[in-house]
Symmetry: C3
Subunit: 257 residues, 3 copies
């Protein structure tokens, strides 16, 4: 049904792993490596050249790495100079600019826009329509919901760009703005439609415009199976490394290493 090898373009020095499938009308530019068993949807562009390509005769196309077992849905655009780990899963129409590093087991939702010069850890999930401004730093297990924007300019427009820094397990609910350079600790939860304008420590539940500290997430009256829902890893494990043994055991086993 799919993968009829129609109208596909493959550039030079492209390394395509075993059992990789590439959708119709897709383009793989020079110096791209795609890991084994990966799937690239139709109409995708992998290794999109940087702006310099159009105007410089000395353009050097950076290396682009896509790990094993990727499922990149159709109409993705991933720039040259990005490095993405294994088990990458995306929606449609994603855009990822140059100098983006993404770890393993990440999910990037439909129409997300990652603007480059950004580091994203492992097991991060961006739902659809998330904008990650340049110079952001997103740690492992972070979850971000639709229409959230990580901004990077505290006095727009300026030349001093610095994105937010989100520590592990932090969750940003829909339509929230994270202002330039703010830092959130581990296991924070930011309510929908908030504007976060300063730093918060681990386990903070913050909400509002401007966001204010409400309480420790461990005090939030949300329950799963009769127990406190937060910290959420105890109650949500789909696709997470603790999926089999549960977060408690998994976390202890890490400590024992």
């Amino acid at each position: 049904m799919k993968f009829n090898n129609k109208n596909i373009y493959i550039g030079q020095n492209v390394k395509i792993g075993k059992n990789v499938k590439i959708g119709d009308n897709s383009v793989i530019y020079d110096n791209v490596t795609i890991g084994d068993n990966s799937i690239i949807g139709n109409n995708s562009i992998i290794g999109e050249p940087l702006q310099e390509y159009y105007y410089s005769k000395n353009y050097n196309q950076p290396i682009t790495l896509i790990g094993e077992n990727a499922l990149i849905r159709s109409n993705a655009i991933i720039y040259a100079g990005s490095e993405i780990g294994s088990n990458f899963n995306t929606g449609h129409f994603i855009t990822i600019r140059e100098n983006t590093t993404i770890g393993n087991n990440c999910i990037i939702g439909t129409k997300c826009d990652i603007q480059g010069y950004t580091t994203i850890g492992n097991y991060v999930r961006l739902h659809s329509f998330v904008v990650i401004g340049q110079y952001s730093n997103i740690s492992n297990y972070v979850q971000i919901f639709p229409f959230v924007v990580l901004t990077n300019d505290s006095k727009p427009p300026s030349n001093e760009l610095l994105g937010p820094q989100l520590d592990e397990y932090t969750v940003i609910a829909s339509s929230t703005v994270l202002l330039a350079g703010i830092k959130l600790g581990k296991h924070c939860l930011v309510g929908a439609n908030s504007v976060v304008n300063k730093d918060y420590d681990d386990y903070s539940f913050i909400n509002g415009n401007p966001a204010k500290y409400v309480c420790d997430v461990r005090k939030l009256p949300f329950f799963t199976n009769g127990k406190r829902h937060y910290p959420w890893p105890y109650n949500y494990k789909k696709g997470m490394p603790w999926e089999e043994e549960g977060y408690g055991k998994w976390e202890k086993s890490l400590g024992n290493d």
Copy 2:
């Protein structure tokens, strides 16, 4: 000018009605039915296979139905397992996931993202950039403006997903967040950039973060031709079933059936 039949792929068991036009570079996968006089824009994908397709040898491609007289603009992606009524009209770059049921005479704006497992009635209009989370329920004549998101997880991330439920004629202004599971009655109006965190009855005008009840929409000081603008169907009829006779007569005629 358009419709040069270049680089079109049609799968197996595809039923294409009379006078259907399909744009260049478009793909119609297996088991899709497209009604008479429909138009599919360039670069579209109809019947996009579900994730299971990539990993299971026993994948069964669900049936996809597109009604008569559709105008689906370019770069649409509509998953297999969606059922859409007649006179469907879309902008560009829409994404509609599996198990979405859409009635007749609906308009879905550019870059909307309907995430599946959702029911949408007749004469619904989504402006551009609307996100409809899974397990939402949108009744007839609802209008939703840009950057609105219908969320479905009240304690993110969790496995207990339930979307909002919007009754007939309700209007959601731009950039509003509807929290998981909330219900709005008929003829409600939600102000721009609100966060709706509980249920409201028919005719409620609500606004703010969190949204609060302001007044009955019939008391709102908006006028058209010297009369109260709300309920809006008395003053807006473009493309609506009461376009010819007016809402008052039309509604009475319904009652007489």
Copy 3:
């Protein structure tokens, strides 16, 4: 690497300047003129026909003008009847509807949606995911950040549409809603996630939902190299006409003409 002339469609009465490059799978419809040295990315559609095309035998395709030195990135859709100046630079997946006039040296970010019947001046920058409703008016040097929407219906849905009017140098931070018909003077700054529901004079810093006047932007405690950052043109010149001589000298030289 790029520009392999694969699967390109060029309509009738298309005028393509010298040294223009057109990406694979792109479509240039009838009556389009593209200026010298312009670049059209892959999968783009220039001169997309209006809705009337599908239903009228007497359709006349309007003229579409793209100026010199454009860099239109892949998957752009620009409707027939748009007129765009020189040095136009876009992200990916932009949509620009008919009757849009855009001046010179503008940047339109990834996934922006300009809905037509709109005038945009020179040196305007829209970051990604900006929605410009119909009948908006954006003057020179305006900067708008992600998820901002310029609305045009003060009593939705109605037939009385009027967009906002933004004067020179005004900056709209992320996720803000500008309500229908509001006017902002020169050098205004609107804080992130605001809702602007009335007019404000030159140099206003406004913030909140609903937005309130906070102070003159010239009093804001943001500094660049020890001097007040606002008005920003004194401290930001990248790509601006005062890039070489600085804003102060440049502005004075204008006054002398």
